[in-house]
Assembly symmetry: C2
Homo-oligomer: 457 residues x 2
């Protein structure tokens, strides 16, 4: 009798795991449970669809349930797994449309339930008109609200990547937008000096930023809808719609109930092959924790690119192959209005927390030769370990063509290069693409000088 | 008495060496000889100035003689060094304007004479109207010809980077342009499959390509000017102007005369600190050979970015510091009409010549998420060593935003990563910047599958 793989969650991680396993072991029965209406879609694309930059919702879907079925998967849409019995190797499910319940036995199980938006425990948070944007169905609901025409003022709670992307999307639609964030600069994963540049870019687009302030309550009208956000400092921000952009936490409830151990970060503990500590149970995607290669800490990073890779790794291993997920270094990139920003490795605060002693250097340069038409400003900041000069982190901010240079820095960090080594790298040069010293190299040169000066002092 | 550094050549390498040494040892006497009219300019920018894309010649100059002088250098413009006496530590010079001659003693000497364009030994090659484009003065002369209005038909001999860039510049000026090249595809440092894409891009701009054919002679009119290029196959290509784009060779005549040893590649032999084999004599830039980190061969790569780095290394060492130039891996990038192309590491032919056994993989993807407006096509090709899977080379070709991704691949190659390691890298992802699997990662995945399939076979 053929073996059965059950996968809980049909987005990036689950979809990849299911596809890979089936591809490697065509005789495997693969059952994929998805409680939503879509599989394998780009959650990161939702803000652009809301903005209208991406025209159709269907463009966000990389693989439909029908496509998965054509590849031999047994896809159960709108079906939620409500319990896991790891002793018996069985999951309990419920069809959300019909209410029908049932069980499915498994030989291998992939837990890929993703994450849930953080909801601050304040009054009014569950009122109508308060939205998270986590799954495609959230996006659909939010867009329907905006399309209704009755929304003019939007307050976004949280100024991280998603918060700002949604804020921009609403601004593109001509709405009045305010973003509230606890930090002094938005996108707290950047250092404050880079965050200040991002703040300026956001303000340039007529998005109001309320910083160093958090949400204290949601004021709810007599109709049961949110009508304002009340901040800790006492400001009242009128809102026809409130969007939560406070980040996410791993969706681990089911795992906890089933006794699948979590790690120190709150995500499901997995090894490099994406095995949980329960035999036959794998996990991948936003719900798991990863090793940060620099801090050596376990961290939860909810990002589609990791989810895809982790799902692939789980699927290959389940399919009889061998693959590992070697960890993360915190690379992230975002476009805020006309400004691009990216980071990799450790920020100053993270490096400090990890116990590193470091110097920093930042340079302002251009994306192409300074004399070449279309050259745009780019700032590269580096964080290098004292004495050793090891590159610990980098942040890039600028206009069109700036931020993707972060990949070069990510690979340098991945390989534990020193800034002295980085400045000698054989990077591509021609006037339409870079100054003769690429901004990355100039930054490394300046960081090296900072390491040298510090060593002498 | 203070020591004296003499630098021969005031462009990228010489200018950098002189500046660095002076900065580190302010008491050093630094004499910089330059036979041309400009210092520290971007030779790579000449085609764009000829095209009119860059408005003014002066924009190409990073540092004028006056700026060097303000930094304390004794700059002798239009002054050619005509002999070196390494026993006595003296150079002989001639002022090209006045004919005055003289000598200058040195404690340290930097030889940074650059390169000279290859001139095929064919009839008519020295006729009027035949130009190389190597130094800014060449560019000035060429542009004056084009500005004269008597040029309508241009034949470019050689379809490498410079040849195509000049061809495009002439096309932008509305001229009829033909490029002749010996190879079956232009830019022979790319594999033929990538070269074919480049050929298509060139033809799309109405530049005629005559491939697998070389120049046999230049037909010279009664006025002493070139009037056609005659190819080996017997074609006669009418030309009001002929541009040589056959590449360059190191300018080593003076060094040879002075007994400064060359390496196997024909460039001046230097160690990692840019010391020649003659005590007190350093060399840097297009005239030296470098170690190719993959083939382990000595190679001459004439590129401004290396010249700058090597000059900096020589200057730091002369200034009492310690710096090394760790070699090259053959990274190059170019924009041909709307097409961007870049390469790093070894091409298939180079890998074969270096004795590697390898597999290849190529993928077509997009620069941004496929559904994102402005996503453009990108092809990434990888060459991976058999069994080990070590990444040996990569080529990237596409439209706006494609080619700079080569830097990520260059750093992966520099660090001797395998394609399996590359596919797990933590590269930046957001829809405006990449698909959820960056094209680099997809290519690595496909290359890894090729390595696996080859290993099983």
């Amino acid at each position: 009798m053929s073996k059965r793989l059950v996968v809980i969650g049909g987005d990036a991680a689950g979809g990849s795991a299911a596809s890979q396993a089936k591809k490697r072991r065509p005789d495997l029965d693969v059952v994929l449970f998805e409680r939503g209406r879509a599989t394998s879609y780009s959650a990161c694309g939702i803000p652009y669809w809301i903005a209208g930059t991406v025209e159709r919702e269907t463009q966000l879907v990389a693989r439909t349930p029908e496509q998965h079925r054509a590849a031999g998967l047994d896809v159960r849409m709108r079906t939620e797994v409500v319990g896991i019995d790891t002793d018996e190797g069985v999951v309990h499910w419920r069809d959300l449309e019909t209410g029908t319940e049932g069980t499915e036995g498994y030989d291998d199980l992939v837990y890929a339930t993703g994450s849930v938006p953080m909801r601050p425990p304040v009054e009014g948070i569950d009122a109508q008109g308060v939205y998270g944007v986590q799954v495609l169905d959230d996006g659909v609901a939010l867009r329907a609200e905006l399309d209704s025409g009755r929304v003019q003022r939007v307050v976004v709670v949280g100024g991280g990547y998603i918060g700002l992307e949604i804020a921009e999307a609403c601004r593109i639609r001509g709405l009045e937008v305010t973003v509230v964030d606890l930090s002094a600069t938005p996108v707290g994963t950047f250092d404050p000096d880079v965050g200040a540049i991002i703040a300026e870019a956001v303000r340039c687009e007529d998005i109001e930023l309320v910083l160093s302030d958090g949400v204290a309550a949601i004021d709810v009208g007599p109709d049961g809808r949110a009508r304002a956000v009340v901040t800790r400092s006492g400001r009242e921000l009128p809102a026809d719609l409130v969007v939560l952009g406070l980040g996410v936490r791993p969706n681990v409830r089911l795992a906890q109930e089933a006794g699948i151990p979590l790690g120190t970060s709150g995500g499901i503990a997995v090894d490099q092959r994406m095995r949980t500590q329960v035999p036959g149970v794998w996990a991948a995607g936003d719900c798991v924790e990863s090793v940060h290669r620099l801090s050596k800490q376990r961290v939860v990073v909810a990002l589609g690119t990791h989810a895809n890779k982790q799902g692939r790794v789980a699927g290959i291993n389940i399919g009889g192959g061998y693959a590992t997920f070697p960890g993360v270094i915190g690379t992230a990139i975002t476009k805020i209005c006309a400004t691009e920003a990216a980071r990799t490795g450790l920020s100053e605060a993270e490096a400090e927390a990890a116990g590193y002693s470091f110097v920093t250097a930042a340079v302002d340069s251009t994306t192409k030769a300074g004399y070449f038409p279309g050259a745009t400003p780019i700032r590269v900041k580096m964080i290098a370990e004292r004495r050793s000069g090891r590159l610990l982190g980098a942040q890039v901010v600028g206009k069109e063509g700036a931020a993707k240079r972060v990949d070069a820095l990510a690979i340098a960090i991945w390989n534990e290069m020193t800034v002295d080594e980085v400045l000698s790298l054989d990077l591509s040069y021609a006037p339409p693409f870079a100054p003769v010293w690429d901004p990355v190299l100039i930054a490394a040169r300046k960081a090296f000088e900072a390491v040298e000066a510090d060593t002498r002092s």
